[in-house]
Every structure is written in C-alpha cells, then in structure tokens.
C-alpha cells in the first residue's frame, strides 16, 4: 500500500485533483467563519456584478451573496456525493460479491435484478424517487444511491468471479478455510482496487446528479446547493452571467478533481502499470 501511496502522490493528475478537492473541503470548513449568516439571506442589492463592495462574486436576483452560496453549497455537494456513493458501494459490492461467489442460481437471480435497474434511465428514476418521497437531503442520497449501484455490482461480480477462479482460492479451500473467510480475506482484498477507482468516479457523478436535481427544483429546500443556484440564475443569464457561472465552475472543478483522483488511483492501484 505504501508503494501505491507514493505513486499516487507523484502522479500529476492525483496531485491536481487532490489540491482542488482540498480547496473544496477548505470551503466547507471556512463557510461558517467567512459567511456566518445563512446563504439564503438577502444581504445586498440584487444583481450586483462580481467585485462589488461586500459581494466578491456578485449577488443573484434576490440579492443573495453568490460567494456565500458557493461556500455553503460545498457542504451539500460533498455530503451527497460521499454518502450516496457509500450507499451505492454498500449495495453494489454486497450484491456483486454474493453473485460472483455464491454459485449459479444466486448469480442468475442477482444479475436479472441488476438488469431491471439498468433498463430504467438513471436520472428519470432519481427524479421519480425524489418527487415521490418529497425532496430532502436523505431522500436525495437514497435516490442517487439507488441509481448508482448497478455498475458497481457488475464490476464487483466480475472481479470476484475472476479472482475466485485463481488457484490460491482453491488452495485456501483445501486448507480448510470457510467460504466467508475465503471471500473476505482472500478474494475481496484482491478484487478491491478497480472497485475503489469506480467508486471515486461515482462520487463525481453523484455530485452531478444532485446538481441536476436541484436545478430542476428537487433539491432540499433547507440547504443551499450549486445546482439550485444555477437553476435560480438561469432566467437572468443574459443580464447576470455570474449568478450561473460561478456555481457551474464549482461543480465542474469538483467533478474534475474527483475524476483526476480516480485516474491517479487507477494507476497507483494497478501493479502492472505502476511498476513499468
């Protein structure tokens, strides 16, 4: 692992991605200090351009401070990105591992179940779930988690299947180790690297789905979110470009940072690439 860490740290994509992500985390931490008030408060005249006194990035149609919105919005984006990915990993990895390890019948049933989910367009299902369950941060996490797990499950399944066919797994079975022990201690550790990489990419896509939901007005009304800000600024984009541009940039940079980290992780955790 220390080898992988060193490769990751030396990887240019990893360093850039990590730096941007650290800045986003810094935003989360500094939001209550720099902008102690609620980001929903109307603190200034509406539609002030960036650089105005008291509003570094300008204000929106209601006179809310965009900079404050972006810093506070980082909390929502990161929480939802991480929490829904965790949920998706939990479902996906568990089901995938069972499908790959438990034999033909379980495999067939789980694969059919995954296919049901894969035939429904992701985003439509997420909208539907949030609309039915009423928008709140928890329903959004649940909805994004539910639409993101199938690819992770498929990846886990195929990884587990290929590792389980290797001789050392058979040898472990001959050593008298139990199935659960073999799965957890021999198969999963060897299957994990691509799953971690895919998981990091899922964080980025979750952030994008959340932004899209908020843009459509399905965000949690108690939290300021980047997607909501773009949605709100969309009507005045010709007069006040800054109201949409800055939150858009924030989404763009965060998603790209996480993708870069994923790419670096991919190289660092893949022994064949990293050793050459």
């Amino acid at each position: 692992m220390s080898d992988s860490f060193r490769i990751f740290i030396r990887h240019p994509a990893g360093v850039v991605g990590l730096t941007i992500l650290l800045l986003v985390c810094l935003a989360v931490l500094s939001a209550p200090v720099l902008y102690p008030g609620s980001p929903w408060d109307m603190v200034n005249a509406p539609l002030l351009p960036p650089g105005s006194l008291g509003a570094v990035l300008g204000t929106d149609t209601m006179g809310r401070d965009i900079a404050s919105g972006i810093l506070h919005g980082a909390v929502v984006s990161l929480t939802i990105g991480l929490a829904s990915t965790a949920a998706a990993l939990f479902f996906g990895v568990t089901l995938g591992a069972v499908a790959g390890f438990a034999g033909d019948t379980a495999d067939m049933l789980i694969v059919r179940f995954i296919e049901i989910f894969q035939t429904i367009p992701n985003f439509v299902l997420a909208i539907l779930l949030v609309a039915i369950l009423s928008p709140s941060i928890w329903t959004i996490i649940l909805a994004i988690g539910l639409v993101s797990w199938p690819p992770l499950a498929r990846l886990t399944r195929i990884q587990v299947k290929s590792i389980a066919a290797r001789d050392f797994v058979q040898a472990a079975r001959c050593q008298g180790q139990g199935s659960m022990q073999i799965l957890l201690r021999h198969v999963m550790p060897n299957a994990l690297s691509p799953i971690i990489v895919a998981g990091s990419m899922t964080v980025a896509s979750s952030i994008l789905i959340e932004a899209a939901l908020s843009f459509m007005g399905l965000g949690d009304p108690n939290y300021m979110s980047w997607g909501y800000m773009i949605g709100a600024g969309r009507t005045v984009i010709r007069q006040a470009w800054w109201a949409s541009l800055f939150p858009g940039l924030a989404i763009f940079l965060t998603a790209i940072a996480i993708n870069l980290i994923g790419e670096a992780l991919n190289d660092a955790l893949n022994p064949r690439i990293s050793r050459s």
């Binding site: 290797r166 001789d167 050392f168 058979q170 001959c174 008298g176």
Partner: protein, 542 residues
Amino acid sequence: MTLLSVKDLSIALPGGADRSHAVSHVSFDVEENQIVCLVGESGSGKSMIAHALLGLLPPGIAVDGGSLQFQGTDLAAISAEARRTIRGNRISMIFQEPLTALNPLKRVGEQVAEAIRVHQGQMQPATMKAKVEELFAQVGLPQPAQLQMAYPFQLSGGQRQRVMIAMALSNNPRLLIADEPTTALDVTTQRQILDLIKSLQKSHAMGVLFITHDIGVVADIADTVVVLNKGTVVETGAADRVLLAPTQSYTKALLDAVPGRGAFRASGSSSVPILEICGLHKRFTTRQGLFAKPREVVAARNVNCHVSAGDTLAVVGESGSGKSTLARIMLRLVDPDSGDILYRGTSVRNMDRRKLRDFRRKAQIVFQDPYSSLDPRLKIGESICRGPRAFGASRGEARDIAEHWLDRVGLAAQAFDRFPHEFSGGQRQRICIARALALQPEILIADEAVSALDVSIQAQVLDLLNDLKSEMGLAMIFITHDLRVAREIADRILVMRQGEVEEERLTAELFAEPRSDYTKRLLEAIPGRSFFSARLSVHESA
C-alpha cells in the same frame, strides 16, 4: 555462406532490473541451410536476441553494442522502414503461443494472404488463393482449400502453429526465427511440428534460428548449439560435440537435469489403498446461448484408480485428457456426475461439510502455476499459517509450523515475512509445497507442479517431493503431461486420453512394453529420446 552473423551483441536493460544487460557480448553465426539452437533457461536472454533481430524489443530495452549482420546489412543500424522490407520477407518469425499470435477475428487464409500482399503487392484473388493453398499443403494442413476459410478458434493448437509457419514461409525467407514454437503444444504435436520445421528447412534451404529451453528438442533438430546462461554464451559448437562431450559444467548440468533417465522406482507397498476412485464419470456442458446446442466435453469416462501410503501414481495425458479435472474431483473441488471417491473406505461424495473439511486436511494439492497459486497480497508465512489456524492452532503454533516447513523446503525462516512477488517460480513452488504439508496430509496431489519450471529447477523440486514423500509416507498423485517427469517420480503410471484410461502399469513395464498405441506414440514423441538413450549407454560403457 554465412547468413546471419551476430557479433559482440549487447542489449541494455533499464535501470532497476536484476542485471544491467539482458545479453552481453554474444557472438554466433547462422549459416545457410542450417539449424542453430539457442538454448538456455528462462531469463537467459535468448528471446531478447530474437526480438533484437527483428526490432521487436520492448520499450526501454535497446541494443547498445555489437552488430547483427544479415546478408550484408547491419540489422541493429537500419531505419524502421528498411527493417520493414526485411521483416516477414527475408527474415520471418514464429512465436510460442499460436493462439495469441493470430488475429482471432480474421480467417486464417486471409491472414496468410495479407502477409504475401505486404511484400509482393496485390494479385488476382484466384492466384492468391492458389498460393495460400499451396502453402497450407506444404505445412501439412488437412484440406487446405477449406481450411483457408476457418477462424483461428476452429483450429487445434498444432494446426494454428502450422498456419503461423505457413505465414512465415509465405515470402520464402532466408532466415526463419522460431521462438519456443513447440513449448505450448502437446508432446505428440510438438514432435510433428519439429519434424515439419526440419523438413521445410531442408526443402527451402533456409537458415533457422531455433530458440528453446528444452535440451531434448535441441538434440532432435540442432546442427549447431549456442548455450546461453544469464546473458552470456557459455558454450557453442556443433550439436554432436556440445551434447555428447560438453566442456562447460553449466552445459553438463543442463544435460543432467533432463528428467527421465534415473532408475525406475519399484512400487514398495501393496498395502490397503488410502484413496480409491471407482467408475468415475464427468462431462462438462457449456450452454452457448438460449437456442444453441450445448457443447459437451467428456472429462472422465469410467475412470478407476487407487493409491496407498508411500505410493506415487502419475497421471499422464495431453491437454484435454481430463487429468486436471481428475485431481479436482479427488478433492471434491469439482463434483463428478457418477462414480465414487473412497477415502479409507468412506465415500468422499457423501461427506457432510465437517467431514469434508477433515478430509481436505488429509488431501492437499500443489498447483501448476506458481504465480497464481499464492495470494499476492498475503505474506507467504501468513498464507501457510492460514491452514493450521483453520484447524485450531494458535497464532504462535501456526508460526512455528510455518517456519519449520519453510526451512524444510529449503527456504530460510526469514522468508516468512516476504510477499510472493519477491520469489522466483521454483521458490514459489516450494512455498506451495510447504503450505500443503503444513497440514500434515496423507495424500499429496501435484497438478503439473513442475511444468512451469526450468529443467534444473524441475529436478530440484522433484527431488524435494521424493524426499518428503518417503519421509512422511505420503500417497502421491502426480499429474503431468511429461512422461519423462512421470518416470522420474512415479511407481505407477496411468495414461489418460479424452477422459478415458488408456492403460495403468508399473512405470518400468510401461516404458519397456507399452500396450496401447497411444502410449507408444507418447513415448516416441519424447524429445531427444534416442539421443538420451544413446548418451546413457555411452556413459554406462565408459
């Protein structure tokens, strides 16, 4: 006339490799109408030389000294463009793995036609077809006209290699480079391909540079031998001279390591069998789609055999004979369709989970591939400990057991805390043996346990297995495709073919008077057989 003259060749490796040069100061010649064998163990740099000739060295590795004179051009100094006009034309190459060397999505006839088109330009489809057909006939492919339309997966390993040879011959090369062309093939197919290469070499009056690790193959086809060790030439000369009167100790050691020349083992024990297989049947069906007819492969048809303590049974057969499936069925890693496995009289098939676990403790297996049979993320000591721990040993006891066995198989106890990738193939196989024996088994199944190893390492591992077997009174089942190895270790040999037992005999009897035609063919196909028996009698009379 000298066709190829390699002078003082050095090939540099990138920093961090185990040595600075893959090969250094290597010189040898290939004359016209001659077969030169480059022989050496893995890591000796023999393939690097072949790849350097055609400019196929992997990135980061380059020729950094010497010259490769081929018909007046230095292959090390020409442009990529000039090299392309030579490659596949005046020099062509055949590779080890005939499956991966052919494009899986293209008909084989078209692939050969492409090789012709590159160097001879477009021609009429009918002319081309006739040309390919003639080549296919030359390399002994059956029904050359129809076979042109086949895809690689429809052909057997030997047929694929014949297609590769046809492709290599398509532009009448002066020099043919063959990089371990028979290593991936069964012994009878190997024999056919060797005969083919030899006869084509004569009829085309080509020079052949033949790369192999198997000194038996060398004895069969070489005119001149170049022995390589760790990137330097150890000995070179006419084949008869080098093989019969080697001057260097390394060459002698290589010759002596070839298995299958020692005295036959006599079956000592006739006691009650520990493990018995009765009337075993197993067929695999693969469904290829909802409506396609399922494909069936018979892995075992009425197989019977037994082993008792101190007894070694070798199961010999070509690929697809069902020998590995038999090993897995014995351990119930695969369930048979019918028949029974009896361990000390009790049926293994009817055992519940608890009993099965106890049985598996008594029957251990060592696998073929030393690279995939150890968990890459576990320290090897930990891998060995897992077994005793699963049967209730404490952490400290398990560690003691592991250290004892590491020491016993010839690795220092310090090896305990290292990872599998830090060991060579032979060392890993020793670790696997230690892992199996740490459970104090009564039965040891070795599934091609030495096939992936160099001959010299092979001999060491076989010795180790023999010692351990007699020390612990193990019943051993040794699965191999190599009759030479079987002869080295087994009391009895069971010959399998397509899931059926051809014959089961005492080793000495089987070698002296094989009953089935198939066994006879297997025996005749052993590379270097006549040479080694001649060598043996020379040694005995001396």
